[in-house]
Symmetry: C2
Subunit: 115 residues, 2 copies
DNA sequence: TGCGAATGTAACCAAATGGTTATTTAATTA
DNA sequence: TAATTAAATAACCATTTGGTTACATTCGCA
């Protein structure tokens, strides 16, 4: 854990088990047991992965009886998206045209609002 | 280095020095020495970072005399962007509306092409 | 009250990571 | 050819990471 938010988020995402956990949580809340079921690793290993995800804010936990269900919190992914978008021009040849389209989009959106 | 491309890319991006290197390369090719200048870490440390970036395809190297300049290759970032976009709906309330807009966009694009 | 199930903590381990200094390789130039 | 410069490699080190097993905690319920 650094003081660098984005590094921690990337680091949390650099593990396939953790990304699989996020993918499953995208379909709804799950308890640790439910979450662990498809993986062959031990419970404590799952707990550790959840700690990592929670520390960077990618999940939150609640309590119902002896279950502590996990919920996806995608805000940190927004920062990742923002970071990577800065580089879009370097892989997307039609970046400038897409840029034009987005500008167009905004104009249209304003138009909708004023209607 | 795993067999999992996306994990390796995220892992490469999880270091602030490496992201700073990419940011500088976004402005153009640079030699190792030029690249190293703003950082307080040793040359070999930079070389190691470059190896990591090269292994996941985020940079390529060429040779001119005793210099081995680095060049940004953003394709792996495209995969990151694609992965993270899947989660946009979980942070962006207006995702569905945006989705509509993108569909609209495609229609417009077709229209342009047929013009 | 006390058992059982869900989860977390402790202690440990091997491998990977990010850094170092010292040495080597490769290319330019005097 | 010898000296200089750019970069890579080697060998090493401390820390972090992702896993394990054994034990502890917390809660619902018979």
């Amino acid at each position: 854990m650094t003081t660098d938010c984005l590094s921690d988020t990337f680091s949390a995402l650099a593990d396939p088990t953790r990304r699989a956990i996020l993918a499953r949580l995208a379909l709804g809340e799950l308890s640790v047991g439910e979450l662990a079921r498809p993986f062959k690793i031990s419970g404590p290993a799952i707990t550790k992965h959840l700690k990592v995800l929670q520390r960077v804010g990618l999940i939150t936990r609640s309590r119902h009886a002896q279950w502590r269900p996990c919920r996806l919190e995608a805000k940190p992914l927004q920062e990742v998206a923002a970071w990577v978008e800065e580089y879009r021009r370097y892989w997307d040849e039609s970046f400038d045209r897409l840029d034009d389209y987005l500008a167009e989009l905004q104009k249209k959106e304003k138009h909708e609002h004023n209607r």
